[in-house]
């Protein structure tokens, strides 16, 4: 997937996270601000990288403001932002790239 335009998904509510993606040309530029960074920073990064890999994204600026989201929410918000960026809202690859 190629990031077409900046997009955002998620909220700043407790247990949620807000993910912003922008087109990039410097590989994956990852930026994380999290209330649980000391305990889960690496885990969050791992989930984000896996999700980007599943979606075959290799060039992106991705910033996350995390309020203690679980892995399933982090994945959902990253995917939400990515599909918004390319404007795809139907015929989504459930169980394929989204997994």
């Amino acid at each position: 997937m190629e990031i077409v335009q900046p997009a955002m998904a998620g909220t700043l509510e407790s247990s949620d996270c807000q993910v912003t993606v922008e087109p990039g040309n410097n590989g994956i530029e990852f930026n994380l601000e999290s209330v649980v960074i000391n305990q889960f920073g690496n885990q969050i990064k791992k989930v984000v990288m896996e999700t980007l890999k599943n979606m075959e994204v290799s060039q992106v600026k991705i910033s996350i403001v995390d309020k203690g989201a679980l892995d399933c929410t982090i994945k959902a918000r990253v995917e939400g932002a990515l599909f918004r960026s390319v404007g795809q809202f139907d015929h989504l690859p459930w169980g394929g790239a989204v997994r």
Binding site: V35, V36, I37, Q39, G41, N42, K45, K67, L70
Partner: protein, 520 residues
């Protein structure tokens, strides 16, 4: 050196503080010592006035100098103006190396952080700190060691002379010109002055600060003129809206209600729940809800409480109003209903020493059947942490947690299993602030764990329909949902110590390291 809760206390800290490591909650039972006494300046000349014009003048009269220890109480909680007003004047005088010995500090005291940074304040002794002071200490800005000690532990430290207060500043809701202080009345009515009584008794010099000067005699005095050197009148000693709030509306959060229900069901199924039992609880939503549901069952079963202790709130005072308890013993009032209840003849004010000092000839906490507590974290050894956030930063206070847990026959901790993504039940707490040997039960929204050493309680609960689990099972449920948290990375630098109530060292708090990703 490894202490009795498995924490490694660095030798240099033991050397620097002259303290021993924690060796069990009753290690110092029977210990004998000579109490410290204040250096007292007599007032016999009847023409001498104690009134001084300003905090500045009081400081000058008290010969404020570098290295002194100043005492403060926290009855005004997040509405307190006293600490900031005094420290501003101290700073203006260019005084350095002050030790603050407060019964607690909160976010209201964020403005003193610059004085920590510039060396005006170099030591802090408190039940705990929140907000920016916590951040400042955790990032290594305090020159000396922060000492976190319980309410009972503070009285012990002062009475035993471990801490000598040079000047105590007592915010008094009402005071006369001769220094008779009351927690009652005025604009900043906080009900009681329990935490300040030891300052009155043991500080060399005592300055009463009030915004409501009343005619002599302001009786019955909570702190007597016989202990007060100077009286300062200021415009405001606190923000009444933040001192005693309106009673919190009982929670409607089902998670809290469910935990409260589990807690109450546990309480009523123990052998201690019988006519004449005693009880203390905190101010959290679940604690308050459990008091309300307990009151209902007491009524249904015609069981009467002998005494309630606190940290009081409306639901506890309602027990008195509804004649379900013989008396209340009060160290602090959290809402206006509790302040109002102080007038009741069966509502007794007690000092922090009577309440919780382990170096007394016995304290009220020792007579408690139940105490209902909260925690930031509990580990599989039932050790609790109420001071250091899971991110390593100091952000809470011991209060009476270790005192009541050690004293009560049944100490129950109510805690939601997850705080956001943070598991409250974990393998090892970030800091031990109450030893697991004094915690009997942990109630969570996912189940209840009884400390395995309490075989009697485990037996009492046979056949009781509650979701019992082992503490390890609770941890495993938490980890299965959120993942196992990484350990917070700390520097070697120790920024504070967690003192046990008997003055030994339970744990140390280290400077937090800035986070870096593993693969960077």
């Amino acid at each position: 050196m490894i202490n009795a809760v498995g924490r490694d206390i660095p030798d240099e800290i033991l050397k620097a503080t002259g303290k021993e490591v924690f060796q069990g909650i009753h290690y110092r039972d029977g210990y004998t010592y000579k109490k410290d006494g204040p250096v007292t300046r007599c007032v016999s000349d009847n023409t001498r006035s104690k009134l001084v014009d300003s905090i500045h003048d009081a400081l000058i009269k008290c010969n404020i100098k570098d290295g002194m220890t100043l005492g403060f109480h926290h009855h005004f909680r997040e509405g307190d103006y006293i600490v900031n007003m005094v420290m501003e004047e101290v700073h203006r005088l260019g005084i350095k190396d002050i030790t603050i010995c407060a019964s607690s500090l909160g976010k209201a005291h964020d403005p003193i952080v610059p004085y920590i940074e510039d060396g005006t304040i170099t030591n802090i002794q408190s039940s705990g700190v929140r907000g920016k002071i916590g951040q400042a200490i955790s990032s290594g800005k305090l020159k000396g060691l922060a000492i976190m000690r319980s309410h009972g532990g503070r009285v012990r430290a002062i009475e035993s002379g471990e801490t000598r207060i040079d000047i105590a500043f007592i915010g008094a809701p009402t005071c006369d010109d001769y220094g008779n202080c009351r927690g009652i009345g005025g604009k900043s009515n906080c009900g009681v002055l329990s935490y300040a009584l030891v300052d009155g008794d043991y500080a060399d010099q005592v300055v009463a600060i009030t915004d409501c000067l009343v005619p002599f005699p302001n009786f019955p005095a909570h702190i007597s003129m016989t202990k007060v050197d100077y009286v300062v009148v200021v415009d405001a000693i606190g923000n009444p809206d933040k001192i005693a709030t309106g009673a919190a509306k009982p929670t409607t959060d089902m998670r809290k209600l469910m935990m409260a229900d589990y807690c109450t069901q546990f309480v009523v199924n123990t052998p201690y729940f019988k006519d004449g039992f005693s009880y203390q609880t905190g101010v959290g939503g679940a604690s308050i809800a459990s008091t309300i549901s307990l009151a209902k069952i007491m009524k249904e079963r015609n069981i009467r409480m002998r005494f309630g202790v606190g940290g009081l709130t409306k639901p506890m005072c309602d027990l008195l109003a509804n004649d379900q308890v013989d008396c209340l013993l009060d160290t602090q009032d959290f809402d206006l209903d509790a302040v109002e209840s102080v007038k009741d003849l069966k509502h007794f004010r007690i000092s922090a020493g009577e309440y919780a000092n382990p170096f007394n000839k016995g304290a009220v906490v020792n007579k408690l059947d139940f105490v209902i507590l909260a925690a930031l974290e509990v580990d599989i050894n039932f050790n609790c942490n109420v001071v250091v956030g899971s991110d390593g930063e100091i952000t809470g206070a011991q209060g009476g947690h270790p005192d009541t847990a050690a004293g009560a026959k049944c100490a129950i901790v109510i805690v939601p299993l997850l705080q956001g993504r943070i598991p409250a039940v974990c393998t090892e707490v970030t800091a031990v602030t109450t030893p697991g040997e004094s915690i009997d039960v942990v109630v969570t929204d996912y189940g209840i764990a009884i400390n395995p050493k309490r075989k009697d309680l485990i037996d009492a609960m046979r056949g009781v329909d509650l979701p019992f689990k082992t503490i390890e099972e609770l941890r495993d449920i938490a980890y299965s949902m959120v993942g196992e948290p990484e350990k917070v990375k700390f520097d070697d630098k120790v920024v504070g110590i967690i003192e046990s109530r008997d003055g030994t060292i339970l744990d140390v708090v280290r400077k937090v390291k800035e986070y870096t990703f593993a693969d960077n």
